[in-house]
Amino acid sequence: MSETMAAGGTRTLQIWRGDLTSGQLVDYTLETEPGMVVLDAVLEIQRSQAPDLAVRWNCKAAKCGSCSAEVNGKPRLMCKTRLDHLPADEPITVEPMRAFPIIQDLVTDVSWNYEVNKKIIPFTPREDLPEGDYLIDQADTDRMSEFRKCIECFMCQDVCHILRDQRMHNKYYGPRFMVRLASLDMHPLDGIDRIDQIADEAGIGLCNITKCCTEVCPEGIHITDNAIIPLKERVVDARHDPILKIFKRNNTRPGKKKPEASA
């Protein structure tokens, strides 16, 4: 076993304190234990030095995706980032996610994501399914299951420059929901043709596949290669490929129906 785990020692955290109107980094120094993660340190600071420090967390096991923050400038789950994996000779900065409005300290208002999710039609079985148990192959399950690992930490949304820098929240759904659309569009029994939504409302054309979403995903989902690029190729099939256009009378795909306008 890892008996060699680095001993604790004194560390300094610079935590962003403030709200929507103003704020700054504040230094906190504490004694750490071996194996401590950033969230342990933040909660210890909350307990002993700054009882009003706002931080959102739940499971502390990297399964719920609540404690997303920017540690030393990079989006990280605080509960999964060990102090001894960060440079020992300098302070650790902890800031809230930048792509969303700040509520207080490290807590941001991520409700926009939930609004986006509402716009995505949930799984709707194809109309031509036989009676009885659903029959799905493990190969299809494996592909969808990667997307369904998403814990909705929204760090991909945070690092996506379309949301983070260009602030185009009204034009682009963001990587998390490309992943969700991929899991639905690739479901062998789903009966909705989601191409129009993917291309128009979700704005997949805005993605310039710079892959930062994939780099920060704590679940290791290949967001760009397995979700966004395949969806872009599906849009090409339906909209851009002149040869496929000749061979297809319309753009519907087998088993899939265009959603009703009201939906």
Binding site: K74, T93, R98, D140, H161, N208, I209, V236
Partner: protein, 256 residues
């Protein structure tokens, strides 16, 4: 939505401590050098085959040998008739898109580093970048070129009809393997071969395509590495043939 960011948002603003700028600088340098080299070779359009001693080693920049096949007098820069395919494939390739959007267009320069503030960001929805959606057609053309490169490589192992091994044909072999690894790891190809299906198990054809998709997925997983390696091998192979055919030195080989 209203947002106040914790710190100023000028170009390059970040709380990252690592040397995030090394990668974009390296990519700009490498792609620029390769671009300059390609232009020089296209403009030059000569010294592209080693024919001494019964050999025929054709440079990958100049394959297929269109003047030879169609018996027209070579003109400068005839190589553009060929090179549009592989260069088009590279410039619309999903990996290269990532690297030039980041390094040349600074959108973003690196993850969690502020990019150029634009009046209107349009991504790949407007000309010219919307044309990147035609990547698959460049793939088809580039794949055809790779077929010719394999023919060239096999031919390169024969001197007056006798089998022989030399530095030149081994370089060509390595190059064509790398180019194949890059070309057939293409994201569009991965989509066409099987990714576009929604049921991997619904027919015998689907099962076969699923297996092919899995294999392409393995190559695709290292698409970036194949892209860089093959860019260097293709440049070095051409440089070698240029130097030998212009008489700088001889291609060492042994005929059996």
């Amino acid at each position: 939505m209203t947002t106040v960011a914790p710190s100023p948002r000028r170009l390059g603003a970040t709380m990252r401590r690592d040397k995030w700028w090394v990668q974009p600088v390296a990519i700009v340098t490498a792609l620029t050098l390769f671009g300059i080299y390609s232009i020089v070779r296209i403009v030059l359009s000569k010294y592209y085959a080693i024919t001494a001693g019964g050999a025929h080693l054709q440079s990958p920049f100049f394959s297929p040998d269109l003047p030879g096949i169609f018996s027209f007098k070579e003109f400068r820069p005839w190589a553009v008739l060929v090179l549009w395919a592989p260069l088009g494939m590279r410039s619309t390739c999903y990996y290269y898109r990532k690297s030039y959007y980041r390094s040349f267009f600074l959108a973003p320069p690196s993850c969690a580093v502020a990019g150029v503030a634009r009046r209107k960001y349009t991504g790949e929805t407007r000309f010219p970048f919307v044309l990147n959606n035609l990547h698959r057609f460049f793939f088809y053309a580039a794949a055809l070129v790779v077929v010719f490169l394999w023919i060239d490589t096999v031919r390169g192992f024969f001197y007056h009809g006798d089998f022989g091994i030399g530095l030149g044909n081994v370089i060509m072999l390595v190059n064509v393997v790398c180019l194949s690894g890059f070309t057939f790891g293409c994201n569009s190809w991965r989509h066409i071969i099987g990714g576009k299906m929604n049921c991997f198990d619904c027919s015998a054809v689907a099962r076969t395509r699923h297996k092919a998709w899995q294999k392409v997925s393995i190559l695709n997983g290292k698409h970036m590495q194949w892209a860089w390696i093959s860019m260097f091998t293709v440049g070095l192979t051409d440089l070698y043939i240029w130097l030998v055919s212009s008489g700088a030195f001889h291609d060492p080989h042994h005929v059996f």
